[in-house]
């Protein structure tokens, strides 16, 4: 990163930056890192305030190359274009420096334990005195208050406490956590929308906001229908419920791995007719059974008889074909069926490359060019772009501090 990373993907069209002119002061932490990235990629200036030893994420695996201590890939990904300043918040001079940054910010983003920012003299009340239109965002594991506010946790334990973990896995295995620390990502995403909505209002009214995001509550947004199932019927949704819900849903073995299908859709759809057309065209034995009227009813689809019948027709057909062959057929006949891909498959996806999804990074100092996920949204007038390389620790001190600012002004003869 630093000066060595050239951004091959940074060819900015003529569009403007949707979040240009917004300044974010992000106190580095894993809960808010992706939130800062979302702002940076649409044009905000994001100042990453790191401790003197650097943000913890700089030491997070996987790394470029074989060894720990090399450049962290998650750090590179989530900090593109951010400006770094190292401040020791135990030090009063550095705290003053931090407050100077906050004075000119639109958004303060912090994810310390509840109360820590106030101990540093950087709590909401002090910040608001200096900057009344500031949006002050706190992300914490359980929220700023309540009986669990001081509790410890990580992504796994929060996926547990928020309820997504209980739903994931098979009935005969322990619960298994989603890849990619999705609980922290969820908190960051909800923080981003809460913050941007408040900034829009602050820009119109001059009034800032204090916002309190709970990782646990962010995870409960992913329960699908489990809370309502319990509320309306008293039933507790178990692991494997999606696949057990009705015929045609689940993992289906094929020649070179698995495909995952929702062969009749979700709820009541017309997709059964598509399925019949596909299997008829392929000459699959027994397909006429799916024409019977009972298959139109969700109640029948959820019976063991329906599941066994579907499997007896579809599985022998799938076993003789590759993931790609099945996916091509499913696309043609409009069936919700997809290959169970590996990351290498994803990197080869013709669809993703056709949309220019991946962004190239040229790591000169590490000697390996590589690709990373690019735009999660295409805005016609104000395109997403990766704002630049991830910063070296304290790389932007001169530009960001009062001393630096004064020196630069002196250089310009002001």
């Amino acid at each position: 990163m630093g000066k060595g990373e050239k951004m091959a993907g940074d060819c900015r069209p003529n569009g403007q930056l949707a979040l240009g002119g917004i300044t974010v002061v992000e106190f580095a932490g894993p809960l808010g890192s992706y939130c800062g990235k979302m702002f940076s990629d649409l044009g905000a200036e994001v100042i990453l305030v790191e401790p003197p030893e650097g943000a913890g994420m700089r030491r997070k695996a996987p790394f470029v190359g074989a060894k720990a201590g090399q450049k962290s890939l998650p750090f590179i990904y989530e900090n593109g274009g951010k400006k770094s300043i190292a401040l020791d918040l135990e030090d009063s001079g550095d705290r003053k420096e931090a407050m100077h940054l906050v004075e000119r910010a639109d958004l303060l983003l912090e994810s310390f334990r509840p109360g820590v920012m106030a101990q540093y003299g950087l709590g909401y009340d002090r910040a608001k005195e200096r900057n009344s239109s500031l949006v002050y965002m706190s992300i914490s594991l359980f929220g700023q208050d309540g009986p669990y506010a001081a509790f410890e946790g990580d992504d796994l334990t929060l996926m547990a406490m928020g309820g997504m973990l209980y739903l994931a896995g098979y009935p005969d295995t322990p619960p298994v956590v989603a890849y990619g620390e999705q609980a922290f990502g969820a908190a960051s995403q909800f923080a981003a929308i809460a913050a941007l909505a408040a900034i829009l209002r602050a820009e119109a009214t001059g009034h800032g906001e204090r916002i309190d995001v709970s990782v646990q509550e962010a995870v409960t947004m992913g329960l699908e229908n489990a809370a309502q199932l319990y509320d309306l019927t008293g039933r507790v949704r178990r692991r494997g419920a999606l696949a057990a819900a009705q015929a045609g849903i689940g993992m289906i073995p094929c020649k070179d791995g698995y495909v995952f299908a929702l062969a009749f859709g979700v709820g009541e759809t017309g997709q059964r007719q598509n399925l019949v057309k596909w299997l008829t065209a392929e000459g699959v034995p027994g397909v006429e059974a799916l024409q019977e009227e009972c298959w139109a009813r969700a109640e029948f689809l959820s019976t063991d008889a329906a599941k066994q019948k579907f499997d007896s027709i579809f599985r022998p057909f799938a076993r003789e074909r590759t993931r790609d062959e099945l996916y091509v057929g499913a696309q043609r006949y409009r069936i919700a069926l997809a290959p169970v891909n590996t990351p290498a498959d994803v990197l080869r996806s013709i669809q993703l490359h056709s949309r220019g999804f991946f962004v190239d990074s040229n790591m000169v100092e590490a000697g390996v060019p590589f690709q990373m996920p690019g735009a999660p949204y295409k805005l016609g007038e104000t395109p997403w772009r990766r704002a630049g390389p991830a910063p070296d620790l304290d790389e932007h001190r001169t530009e960001l501090t009062d001393i630096g600012g004064r020196a630069a002004a002196a250089d310009r003869g002001e």
Partner: protein, 406 residues
Amino acid sequence: MMSELPLAGIRVADFCWIGAGAYTTRLLADLGAEVIKIESTVHLDSLRLAPPFKDNDRGVNRSGYFADRNSGKSSFTVNIKTEEGLNLVKELIAQSDIVTNNFSAGTMDRVGLGYDTLRHINPAIIFLGMSTHGSDGPESRALGYGATITAITSLMYLTAFPDGLPAGTGTNYPDHIPNPCHAVFAVLAALRHRRRTGKGQSIDIAQTETMLALMAPGLMDCSANGREVQPSGNQLPGSSPRGVYPCAGDDRWIAISIQTDLQWAALIDCLGGTALRQPDWASHAGRVRDCAQIQSEITKLTIGRDAGALFEALQSCAIPSGIVQNAQDLVDLDPQLDHRGHWKRLGHKEMGRTVYNGLPFKYASVELGPNRPAPLLGEHTEQICRNLLGLGAGEVEALKGRGVLS
């Protein structure tokens, strides 16, 4: 002093249905936008007929799944396959700020409501399309749901135990968090641009791509180093041991994640016994090496214990841990969610008071939504015809008679 909701005064003409789209516009409603759900009684939002139903009685106004994703919206039924119906919708869009859909790519163009048409009706309109694969590319027409998106993005493959079947989240996860959140963020950014320039714009989201944006490390490791990350169950580099362990009762588990040697020492004391007191295991490297053995020793110590009591004991020793909570725990028992007022109970005309997810964030100055239940099918059709489209009672009746408002 209470302040205004941040999206007060913003109107959304909402064609979203089923999962991801519906949660997107629900979030906009929670933030104060007026969301008009444009529906058809012929081509129903299939989520209206997705269980669970109130009293197990199937009906278009009785699905709890639908209700949670559509709180705070108005429902306007109209047949856009009639010329009159299509014109009513265009009139509504002329008075709206945002148009949203999560149909398959090309559908809005086909029904005469593509961005190129709508921007002539309303140049400041923000047009959000969030199809499975985006608006272009060879697979753009492929049908998908949240769960198939987890398959195609490798989330399903990577969420599994080593040597186990790919498992995934067991849900249509991208519909619930990654897609709604990214879509709302993009819409808010476009609103800011419009405020500064007067210009609307079109936003194209591929639901696969928002999911992949949250899966970067594995893809980058593969691309940069040629290393293919493999499923590792509940393990994570840097923490050890990290896993879930059975407790007393039916399908009860506790999650524990040890990140430091100090936490490990505290865990040994907290769980008791002597089996974990191996000098080799005092260091992270030793614990990584003997991870399987450690997991089985911890299991012996948790298996008879009550998950809730164990959680309190572990937390009193500052050990990162959590009960693997089920829906009953979350809705009825969790004191933290109760303290935070997370669950909202809203009164619905047919379903009565039922549970809705509250937002996972709070504003200090104003209470955010949801504060109105999901709409009945077509509940606000007449009101919208009169108040927004300027139609008299007789005209509304005539349109109904011709099947336009169905």
